[in-house]
Structures are given as structure tokens and as C-alpha cells.
Amino acid sequence: MKEELLKRTVKGPDGVEFEVEPLRDYYCEAAPTVMPGAYIKIVEDLFNWARAESLWILGFGTGCGAIEMRPLMTPRFDAYRYGIQWRPTPRQANLLVISGYLSVKTLKRAIRAYEQMQNPKYVVGLGSCTINGGMYWDSYNTIKRLDQYLPVDLYITGCMPRPEALLAGFDDLKNLIRAGQAEGANQYAENFDWYKANQKQVIHDWDMPDYNW
């Protein structure tokens, strides 16, 4: 456990001493809950249509696949014309693209980023590394199956996929969302203990709360 995360006594600017327990005071430890659908299907369909047309990607590149996002967000391929935009913080995004290999160290950050995103949220695995490890299948430091650690709604194959493939993938994701099949966040909430057990199996220095948002 890092020193700044340990329970300690802090003296405030007004001279009052108080106890700080970062893991409990700075984070909400409550586990995520399943978000029920709307009371009637036609309303849920309307919501899903709206969600599909409003994809906000977290600008977080984990591996070499992140290089394909630059031509996508610039005029050459211009994903913005499909209503897909990049945001700088997890709070403002609802789509996490795991762009390529994910080392254990980055997995920790990816989990934190995912958990800080607000519902409804989606995960897209980009490239073969997220599917079966790709060329890093025997690496000591990268995970081999993303869906063991985060709920993946869609995989885009390739090593690495071209921006056109990503655009096609985002189109597929929109169809999934419209059909009400992109329920990754709810799966994460339902199988929370399973995901946490998997995550803790590879992250040996777990120094954060079980759920941080």
C-alpha cells in the first residue's frame, strides 16, 4: 500500500487535527448496481437510440492501437461526422476503447477509468491483443483476454485495425446499443465479484478501493 493511501492524522490550516483515511474518504466504496431499463419498451428504445447517437470516447490510449485514433479524430477519417467524439476525462465519456495490448500496470488505470465513467457506458476492445493476447500471447506483463477484466461489448479484430475498420466497428456498436444488447455495464454490476477476483489475480499490488468512482 502506498504511503499516501494509509490512514493518517492531518493538521488543517486552522490548526485542527483530523484523521484521514483516503480509501474511505476520497472514494465511494459502494459496488455498482444494475441499471434497470425504462418502464416500457418504446421508451427504452428511444433512450437506446439517443445513446447510440451519442458516443463519447475517453481519450485514453493503452497500446499501439491508439495511433489509429488520431486519423479518426482528424479530417482524414473524421469520426465526428458519425456523432463520435473524444473527451479528456472519464466523467465526460461513455465509451472506453482499449486500443491494443494492455499491460498489468495499465489495466489498473483502465479499471479506474472505466469505473469512473458514468452509466450507460460501453467498452470496445481494439486489435488482437485484447482478444487473445495477439503477438504478446507469451508476454509476462500483458493480459491475454480483456473480457476477463472488463465487460467488452464489441471487439474489432486486426493487428492493428485500420480507421475504416474502427468506423465499421462503431457502426456495429451503434446497432448493438439500439438493439439493447450493449449491456456491459450491467453485466459488470451483476458479476462484480467475478470481475474483481480476476482483476486481483493479475494486479498483485492492489492499492485502491474495490470500486472507485
Partner: protein, 181 residues
């Protein structure tokens, strides 16, 4: 040029043979090995008197069969456009080397990396025991050659079933000479 430098240095330090990888001038590159105890005076001499002011890199090689680590200190003389690599051999068990972070501050980063990836200790180097790339590492240092990365990956990460690999030699044999198998 490099030979002259080698002759000059040989009077001062017990140097080994000079291995010239690239002859010049310009862009000369040569390597020479010396005992670890003489490394520091040799580095100081090269830096202050011979113009090798830049530490290009500090890296290690694991000679598993000989039971030794080789440290390579690559120095560059920018004005004369030539590089020299000093090689030091350490016993592999309990490998420890004197830190040179006070000669080049950047060496501390290299030493921290070597501590983590090879398990070579550099006492008194700033932050040498901090995590460098790996976090929460539980096995032996991964760049050591007796570390089995394939076994480690199989034991620690769940693999997606159905992945097959083909030995290139066998595959090409079957493809090119189908009758001979």
C-alpha cells in the same frame, strides 16, 4: 584513433582487448572490458580528460552459462564523434555494482531499471529500489535468462482457448515437400 586511445589508457588501467565495431574517423565505435574496481577512475578519466562527456546508455547482458552479468557503459565524445563502451563483468549471484549517479545523474534511471529487470543492485543510487516499469512484481527479475516468460504467462493469465500455433519449419516442410512426411 581508437587504438591510440586504447594504448594511452592501457598504461593507466588493466584493460582487455579492444573490439573495434566501427572504424573511423568519424563515427568510431569500440568496446573494451576492465575489472569493476577500475571502472570509476576509468569513467572519470574518459569524461574529464578524453572528452567522453556523454553517457549514452548503461545496459546489461545476462551470460547465464558463464554465471555472469555484463554491464556496458557506453560513452560518447561528441566533438570527435566517437563512442567507447566499457564492459564490466559481475558474478551473477548477488550482483552488485558501485553506482555512478554522481558522475552522470541519468545513470540513476538506468540503474533503477537494471535493478528491476535484472536484479543488479546499485547501493546508494537514488530511488534504486522504487518500481520502475513493473508494479507489484512477484517473480524473479524478468530479463534474467532463466526467467521463463511463457510459463509465467500460462500460469498467471487466462488464455482464450482455441489459439493454435504452427512450427514454421514443420509447416513449410509439409507445404513444400508433401510426399516426404
Amino acid at each position: 584513433m581508437m587504438r591510440e586511445l586504447h594504448e594511452r589508457l592501457k598504461c593507466l588501467f588493466p584493460l582487455g582487448e579492444l573490439t573495434e565495431q566501427r572504424r573511423g574517423p568519424p563515427n568510431e565505435l569500440a568496446f573494451v572490458s576492465l575489472p569493476g574496481a577500475y571502472l570509476r577512475p576509468a569513467l572519470l578519466h574518459l569524461r574529464d580528460l578524453e572528452g567522453f562527456t556523454h553517457l549514452v546508455l548503461l545496459t546489461a547482458v545476462d551470460w547465464l552459462e558463464e554465471g555472469q552479468f555484463q554491464l556496458t557503459y557506453l560513452l560518447s565524445n561528441r566533438t570527435q564523434a566517437r563512442d567507447i563502451g566499457l564492459r564490466v563483468f559481475l558474478p551473477r549471484d548477488g550482483a552488485t555494482m558501485a553506482s555512478i549517479h554522481d558522475l552522470w545523474p541519468t545513470a540513476a534511471t538506468y540503474q533503477r531499471e537494471l535493478r528491476e529487470m535484472f536484479g543488479i543492485d546499485f547501493p546508494d543510487s537514488p530511488g534504486v529500489n522504487d518500481d520502475f516499469i513493473l508494479e507489484g512484481w512477484i517473480d524473479m527479475p524478468p530479463y534474467r535468462r532463466d526467467f521463463d516468460t511463457k510459463r509465467f504467462a500460462a500460469e498467471n493469465f487466462s488464455q482464450r482457448p482455441g489459439r493454435t500455433t504452427t512450427d514454421p519449419e514443420q509447416h513449410m516442410k509439409a507445404k513444400l515437400y508433401p510426399g516426404e512426411n
